[in-house]
């Protein structure tokens, strides 16, 4: 990583312009991958997170299981702590090491889904009550473990809040491999996923192992959350999972379009968010959290899209009223 940051004191458009020209350099080989500036790493990282979260988020939203994803994003903490203890890595503080992540994802996904199923089906609790009970219990245990092991609560805070401003190239590699993983799984199984989401019994009659794909979806969510929490924290990952899809959902009813559109929105808003955050820092001297800016941008875009969506509806209603009103008037005249 180069020490002198070329993006220093750049405003919004200058940032984008310089970024594009530097990307040209990167493509033509003038700029080595390891020479990327901090802002570029951030930008790629958030973009990658945006894309992988949008990919899996689409199916979560369609399946109406985002609150389970919320539970998962909390229990990830316990998964991470257990994985660290199991692998004896408490001392060496490397979040990005792959086996730890994989193990943590597996543990937390399995624990959460399994316990929720037990509470709902065996103990006959309401589903959302069991989700709430399970994740708050596992998260509480996770925090206690974490604060006992590290002798302070701040590891917990770091997990929850994340910090995109301390990321390294290793994080970027991880995020990019996550995008690859998610793309691969969705490309391979999007038909089965769609069937599982919309019509379980139809899926079964086609011979799709529904349970397997439900668990796979949860595992994919867990690993995406874990891969992203260092940059954005477990709670903001939720925003990345849900907001692009919710925005895209206002404009389309087709699964394929929804998938593509939400990926585009996730990527686009992440990039613009980084540029805006840099702009605010350069022009107004206000250092703000980059991921916070991105999520706030999601909110702003959502509000605008909701306004458009609602007004479009009003417009359609007006047109319909005029069309249906006319023949009636003719009838009454004749």
């Amino acid at each position: 990583m180069s020490l002198s940051n070329p993006y220093w004191h750049k405003s919004f458009f200058a940032f984008l312009k310089l970024f594009l020209s530097r990307m040209g350099d990167l493509a033509s080989g003038k700029l080595a991958f390891s020479e990327l500036a901090v802002d570029e790493v951030q930008l790629f990282l958030l973009g990658a997170i945006g894309v992988s979260c949008a990919l899996i988020g689409t199916f979560l939203v369609l399946k109406k299981q985002t609150m389970l994803a919320n539970a998962l994003s909390h229990t990830v903490l316990l998964g991470i702590v257990i994985a660290y203890v199991l692998l004896g890595l408490v001392s060496s503080y490397t979040f990005a090491s792959f086996p730890v992540l994989l193990l943590a994802a597996l543990i937390s996904a399995l624990l959460t889904v399994f316990f929720t199923q037990v509470f709902t089906h065996v103990m006959r609790l309401q589903e959302d009550a069991s989700i709430g009970l399970v994740f708050s219990f596992l998260f509480a245990i996770g925090i206690i473990f974490a604060s006992v092991l590290t002798k302070n609560v701040h590891i917990g805070i770091e997990v929850v809040m994340g910090n995109v401003d301390i990321v390294q190239l290793a994080d970027l590699r991880l995020a990019l491999s996550l995008v690859g993983f998610n793309l691969l799984i969705i490309a391979l199984f999007h038909r089965q996923y769609t069937l599982t989401v919309f019509d379980k019994s139809l899926a079964r009659s086609y011979g799709v192992p529904v349970k397997f794909f439900e668990y796979l979806m949860m595992f994919q969510t867990a690993i995406t959350v874990i891969g992203s929490f260092r940059a954005v924290g477990v709670l903001l990952v939720l925003a990345f999972l849900v907001s692009p899809v919710v925005i895209a959902r206002l404009f389309t009813n087709k699964v394929a379009t929804l998938l593509g559109l939400s990926c585009l929105i996730g990527l686009g808003i992440s990039v613009i968010g980084v540029a805006i955050s840099r702009h605010i820092l350069s022009v107004y001297q206000l250092p703000l959290s980059t991921s916070g800016v991105v999520v706030s941008l999601f909110v702003v875009v959502f509000i605008i899209s909701a306004c458009i969506h609602l007004n479009k509806k009003y417009f359609y209603q007006l047109v319909k009223k005029q069309k249906t009103a006319k023949p009636q008037a003719e009838l009454s005249n004749s």
């Binding site: 103990m123 989700i131 509480a140 925090i143 907001s243 206000l286 916070g292």
Partner: protein, 443 residues
């Protein structure tokens, strides 16, 4: 050594203990209502909506006063943003046709993100305040003082008074929906009042268990209370009791463990762990709904049915009411050792005895038992015929019912059918014996 009582009188320990006690009780009471409305995760969403309120409240407070006190920003700012969050959730569901699950999650993440943006500003200008704000994520019970405890006590009292005043209405809404629907306007008002109280409860509980664990405090006591009662008043009482117990022991455990292991055991998470453990124990062991007793009842019933069927089988096998063990083992679909154990069990009941030539013979009691089952079977068949049913259906249904008919049903069936002697298949129905009390005989 510090005793349990010391947690109420020690000048350092007492205010966190008393404060968290009141907070947990207040939160749990509202949790009962939310749980009965089946909207448990609403609390999770709204508690995250409080976060930007706290941060903005602190920023605004800092403009007017030099000293930072978190109480007022939390109460006012938190209430404001939580109400906004509630409104946004309803808007997304009603106007944008989002499913409620997605709306909850989206609003949660969006508000938390906005709070996150604001807190990065606080971190830069008031680093010390930032530390305090962050502690709200997991609660900060240990630093509570007398003022806080008193204020939270008043708020908790407010919730209790609210519940007492509106008790009749609440009971009507949650337990008599049809009647409540006919009075939809007033029930609507009460329901929105409950949401306002939910926000109040969240803001109150915030300081003890923190934003992230809030939903646990709302749900766990309600779940435990529901296991033991069907009455709303008892549910409130039990939930409050569970909350108080978990708050108190949360403090005790946190204090002792922190000293013993010389590491910090944060109070809020410990309280949640205690409360959830109570909930899990009541899900397992509550007498009526608990899963252990439910399965135990099923197992006992199945065993009785099996025993009755085996006695019947031996009775029908031969004139002497005896049957070779090997033959029986082939008839029943059970592992041999379980079957032997079962035979030992009914032998102890005095229904069978082993004979010298490897046979099982019914005792007098066993024969009576078998006859009683057959009597109930044939009575039921007669009844079904009386209803106008015919064929194989009759027998299959009676095979099940013979194990369920009670003494009272049996005698009123007999009376209704005017004491029949033969069943539809022209087989004799065993009658009550004239010679021995409680015995049966075939005529």
């Amino acid at each position: 050594m510090i005793t349990l009582w010391d947690f109420f009188i020690d000048p350092i320990l007492c205010w966190p203990t008393i404060g968290s006690l009141f907070m947990c009780v207040g939160t749990a009471l509202i949790g009962v209502l939310v749980y009965l409305q089946k909207r448990s995760l609403l609390g999770e969403s709204l508690s995250h909506c409080v976060y930007p309120g706290i941060v903005l409240g602190v920023l605004a407070y800092k403009m007017f006063f030099s000293k930072v006190d978190l109480l007022i920003p939390v109460l006012l700012g938190g209430t404001a943003t939580a109400s906004l969050g509630l409104y946004s959730i309803n808007f997304c569901v009603r106007k944008l046709k989002m499913s409620s699950d997605v709306a909850l999650c989206f609003v949660l993440a969006a508000f938390f993100g906005l709070g996150f943006l604001a807190v990065s500003r606080v971190q830069f200008i008031y680093p010390k305040v930032y530390q305090q704000v962050q502690m709200f994520l997991y609660g900060q019970a240990a630093t509570m003082r007398q003022v806080h405890a008193l204020i939270y006590m008043l708020l908790c009292l407010g919730i209790v008074i609210f519940i007492i005043l509106l008790f009749k209405h609440l009971q009507m809404i949650y337990f008599d929906r049809e009647f409540a629907k006919s009075m939809s306007r007033s029930s609507h008002t009460v329901e929105s009042l409950v949401f306002i109280m939910l926000i109040a409860a969240i803001v109150i509980g915030m300081r003890t268990v923190g934003i992230i664990l809030m939903s646990g405090m709302l749900i766990a006591p309600a779940v435990s209370a529901r296991q033991f009662t069907n009455k709303l008043s008892w549910m409130f009482f039990l939930a409050a009791l569970v909350a108080a117990i978990s708050a108190f022991f949360g403090n005790v455990i946190s204090y002792h463990f922190s000293n013993h292991f010389s590491a910090s055991f944060p109070i809020g998470p410990v309280i949640i762990v205690v409360a959830t453990l109570i909930a899990i124990l009541s899900l397992l062991f509550s007498p009526k709904r608990g899963i252990v007793f439910r399965y135990a009842r099923i197992v006992i019933f199945k065993k009785r049915v099996f025993a009755e069927n085996v006695l019947k089988m031996i009775f029908k096998y031969s004139e002497q009411n005896a049957m070779p063990i090997e033959k029986m083992k082939k008839m029943v679909h059970l592992p041999h050792w379980i079957f032997s154990l079962f035979l030992f069990h009914i032998q102890k009941q005095g229904w069978i005895k082993h004979t010298a030539d490897e046979q099982i013979q019914l005792t007098k009691d066993g024969k009576n038992k078998a006859l009683h089952v057959i009597r109930k079977h044939r009575l039921w068949e007669t009844y079904l015929q009386h209803l106008g049913m015919q064929g194989e259906m009759i027998h299959a249904n009676a095979e099940k019912m013979e194990h369920m008919i009670t003494e009272e049903m049996e005698s009123s069936l007999e009376e209704m059918l005017s004491f029949p002697k033969k069943d539809p298949h022209q087989k004799p129905i065993p009658q009550k014996s004239k010679y021995s009390y409680g015995g049966y005989e075939l005529e």
